[in-house]
Each structure stands twice: as structure tokens, then as C-alpha cells.
């Protein structure tokens, strides 16, 4: 968990500097997929048992464990609702996004 590389967005100014293939371009730093979301998960931490199942199941790696507690990264969460479905405590609610 702590071995994360520092991510940075890469922009090349010439094709000559570029690798042959699209590798590690840091594109997810600006391609924030949270805007795709219609409903968002909200965790009631008072009911949370810190089991980590939401963290494990999130297909977008948009849930982090911070000081043992789950924390949703709304920059990337697409609102699929798998965390709410899988939560054994049913303490994650999917809430309509408002403009």
C-alpha cells in the first residue's frame, strides 16, 4: 500500500522522445471518471466493521483504506454500487447526485 510510485502526467513534445508504445503516460491523473457518476456511495462509518470488502470489490480501485477505515475517492468512483451491494453491514447507501 505504501509502495505507490508518485504519479505524474507526461507530455512529450516530440515523437522522437516517445517510447514505441503507450506506456505509463499518467493519463488517469487527468481522466477523472467521477463525472460519469449518477449515484454515489456514502458510507455510514458508525456501522462499518472495517472488513475491507468494499475496498476489495471496487472494480475501479476507488476505495482506499485510510487509518483502517474505507474512504471513497470521488474523483474516480463511477457509482456502480458494487460496494453497497457487497457490504455485509449494509452501511453503504447509494445517493442520487445533485447538480
Amino acid at each position: 500500500m505504501n509502495k505507490k510510485k508518485e504519479a505524474k502526467r507526461i507530455i512529450f513534445n516530440s515523437e522522437k522522445e516517445m517510447p514505441l508504445v503507450a506506456m505509463s503516460l499518467g493519463s488517469m491523473l487527468y481522466n477523472k471518471t467521477g463525472a460519469w457518476r449518477n449515484i454515489k456511495p456514502v458510507i455510514d462509518l458508525s456501522q462499518c466493521i472495517k472488513c475491507g470488502i468494499c475496498w476489495k470489490f471496487c472494480p475501479d480501485v476507488a476505495i482506499d483504506i485510510v487509518d483502517e477505515w474505507p474512504q471513497i475517492n470521488y474523483d474516480y468512483c463511477k457509482g456502480c454500487g458494487i460496494c453497497a451491494e457487497e457490504c455485509p453491514q449494509k452501511c453503504i447507501t447509494m445517493v442520487e447526485e445533485e447538480k
Binding site: V21, A22, M23, S27
Partner: protein
């Protein structure tokens, strides 16, 4: 050592001698024996490779790409509907610069179901960024596989080695099987400039914005343009070691010809025999068999055809609503050349119908009699 083997097994021996490390494939007639023999070689230890069984050709290519990206020399083979199912993955291979070598047995696309040869399967993949070689003998198939690995790995672009269903895939010919030590000296182990490894983690093929996509494609085009010269160089190096030369094209008696057939695959071998027969009758014929189709060998084709008054292109394929595909390509290559030839387009042999010596004679008669083509496509052998 000389062996009498079928074209499909020439592909297998080519992959074995190249020391392919990962093979993932799904069987389809007329390709099946290629991977059947390779799986036996993997099982009995003749070949030290991982054979991955998969549930479809799409998965076969996907498995090959993973292996190639991890740094393994990778081989597969397919045909027709199987190649079509791989289509998406073919773009991944070239765009991702993974030098997989694949045998494709030219088989007509269904419907109606056919297992017999024509070229519409591989030519439908013309624009995927793969190098394409069309072969006309089993020896050529084996030698091309070994050379294809060398060319592909140097430029990090995948190659397709293509042979006709049955008229080559299941036809037995005498093939010189080179010694392993010599092939090892010609083709050293694959050493990619980058690879998928936990020691240096990277995300490959991720989201690529308009800032960079075009440059990656520019680089692919610039590198594939290096193939013709590299094929010549590799062919000469192979000739020095093994005594057999294969270049971009196989030109036969074109020098002084008044009529040149442009052919490919096994139909190109028949054309050679017809050229001899026509020459015995006093007609100066020649045969230009195109081996390297992608990238198109512009310079070579121009240098040979610029001097020729009549060119007859034979296609065992059709681009519906246009012409035969080799005809299109030859015309486009010759556009604007100083001494343009009259170029005629003929279509024959779809769905495995034989292309006979008499068909070539009909083609020669048409091209010699007319100043220029009077039809967009001249169909040979259609029951009208």
C-alpha cells in the same frame, strides 16, 4: 536434413526452430495440424515452450500478446473465421508493438461454408499494421517463419506468414530442415526494449489522449516502412547461411517481358510454368510473385513493372464494389510512374476453385489482344 512434410508442418518446424517460447492457439480447418504438431513437440520436450489452450481465437491472440509483452517469443496460427475473430486483437498486437508471428492459412470466408482457399481472410486484415508474407512452397513457409521472427523483433511489428489452404497447407513437399545450431546463430533470443515485469512496473496501452495518439501511429508507419529493406537484408543473411534467398518479390523472366503476370501464393507457382510454356511459343512472358504484401514493396514493384508494356494482375480475392485487391495496390503503386504499363485486373479461383494453366492462357490472350482493360474486373472461370 530433408523431410517430406505438409505446408502446415512447415509452419510448425519453423516455429520450433525459432524456439518459440509461448504458443496459444485454437484449432480450425485447415490450420489444425500446425498446432497439433506443436502441442506434441511441447508435450514430448522437443520444444521447450508453454502451450496455452484457449476457448477462441480472440483469446489465443490475447494470450500471445500477454506473453509477447512479458518478453517471450510467441507464435500462433489460424485461418479465415478464426482470423476474423482475432481482428480486434490484431490491432492490439501492432499498436502495442508486440512482434508475434502467426501462420494464417488462406481459407474463403463463410457463408457459404468453405474450407478451401482464397485470400479475403488475410486481406481483410490489410490495414491492421501487420507485416504480411504470402508463400508458394513448403520450404518458403519454413524459411519465412524464421526470417519473420527476425524482422518482426527488430522493428517490434507482428508478422503473418500466409499459405493457401490445401494446395499448400495439406500438400507434401520435400523440405530442407535447417540445423538448430545454425538457426540459433541466425536468430538470437528475443530481447525486447521494454517488457511487462514486476521489477519495473508499467501500464501498457492505457488511455492515450490526442496529445500522443497520432505520434504513436506515425512511429508505427515510419517503422513498417523500414520492412522492405530489412527483408532484403535478412534474406541475404539467410542466403549466406542456408543457401536459399527470399526477398520482397519473386520475379521470374521479367527483364525482357512483354507481358508480366502479377501473382501471389501457390497461383504464383502455376504462373511460372505458364511463363515457360508461353516463352516456348515465342511469347515473352514473365511472372512477378509478390511475397511481401504489407508493407507494399513499392520500389521493387515499380523498378520491375515500369519497363513492362502489359501487366496482368491475378487476384484470388475481391474488394466488393471495387477491384481485386492486388490489382488496386499495383495500380496505386504505378500511378505517376514515368513509363506506365497497361494494367489488367483478373479475378479467379475464389473459394478454392483451381487456377489452371488454361486460366493463365486465357488471361494472357486477353491482355495481349487489348490495348487497355475494357472491363473493371475480368472474371476468369465464372459459369455464365
Amino acid at each position: 536434413m530433408k523431410k517430406v512434410i505438409m505446408g502446415n508442418h512447415a509452419l510448425s518446424y519453423g516455429a520450433m526452430l525459432s524456439r518459440a517460447q509461448v504458443i496459444a492457439a485454437y484449432p480450425i480447418t485447415p490450420q489444425t495440424q500446425v498446432v497439433e504438431l506443436l502441442s506434441e513437440m511441447c508435450a514430448d520436450g522437443t520444444l521447450n515452450a508453454k502451450f496455452i489452450k484457449v476457448e477462441s481465437e480472440h483469446s489465443a491472440m490475447a494470450a500471445c500478446l500477454g506473453a509477447s509483452l512479458a518478453g517471450a517469443r510467441t507464435f500462433t496460427a489460424t485461418s479465415a473465421q478464426g482470423l476474423a475473430l482475432m481482428h480486434e486483437m490484431l490491432h492490439w498486437a501492432s499498436g502495442g508493438r508486440m512482434p508475434v508471428v502467426m501462420g494464417n492459412i488462406n481459407r474463403a470466408m463463410a457463408p457459404g461454408w468453405s474450407i478451401w482457399t482464397d485470400q479475403n481472410d488475410s486481406l481483410s486484415e490489410r490495414d491492421t499494421g501487420w507485416i504480411q508474407f504470402y508463400c508458394s512452397s513448403n520450404q518458403e513457409v519454413l524459411d519465412t517463419v524464421i526470417q519473420a521472427f527476425k524482422v518482426s523483433e527488430k522493428l517490434m511489428i507482428p508478422s503473418m506468414v500466409i499459405l493457401d489452404a490445401f494446395s499448400l497447407s495439406h500438400t507434401y513437399e520435400v523440405v530442407e530442415i535447417p540445423e538448430q545450431e545454425k538457426v540459433d546463430a541466425f536468430l538470437p533470443p528475443f530481447q525486447p526494449p521494454y517488457r511487462l515485469t514486476p521489477e519495473d512496473p508499467h501500464a501498457f496501452g492505457g488511455l492515450t489522449s490526442p496529445d500522443h495518439y497520432m505520434e504513436f501511429r506515425y512511429k508505427l508507419q515510419k517503422d513498417i516502412e523500414k520492412v522492405p529493406a530489412l527483408v532484403e537484408e535478412t534474406g541475404r543473411e539467410y542466403e549466406k547461411m542456408f543457401g536459399r534467398y527470399l526477398g520482397q518479390v519473386d520475379d521470374y523472366l521479367c527483364e525482357d517481358a512483354e507481358l508480366v503476370f502479377v501473382t501471389s501464393g501457390t497461383a504464383g507457382s502455376t504462373a511460372r510454368v505458364v511463363v515457360d510454356e508461353l516463352r516456348n511459343k515465342g511469347i515473352k512472358a514473365g511472372n512477378l510473385r509478390i511475397r511481401l504484401f504489407r508493407p507494399f514493396p513499392f520500389e521493387k514493384v515499380r523498378s520491375i513493372l515500369s519497363r513492362i508494356p502489359k501487366v496482368a494482375v491475378l487476384d484470388r480475392n475481391v474488394s466488393y464494389g471495387h477491384h481485386g485487391i492486388f490489382y488496386q495496390e499495383v495500380k496505386s503503386a504505378m500511378y505517376g510512374q514515368p513509363s506506365p504499363a497497361a494494367i489488367f485486373g483478373f479475378i479467379a479461383g475464389l473459394g478454392g476453385r483451381d487456377i489452371t494453366k488454361d486460366d493463365y492462357k486465357e488471361i494472357a490472350n486477353y491482355a495481349l489482344k487489348k490495348d487497355k482493360p475494357e472491363e473493371e474486373i475480368v472474371w476468369i472461370g465464372v459459369k455464365k
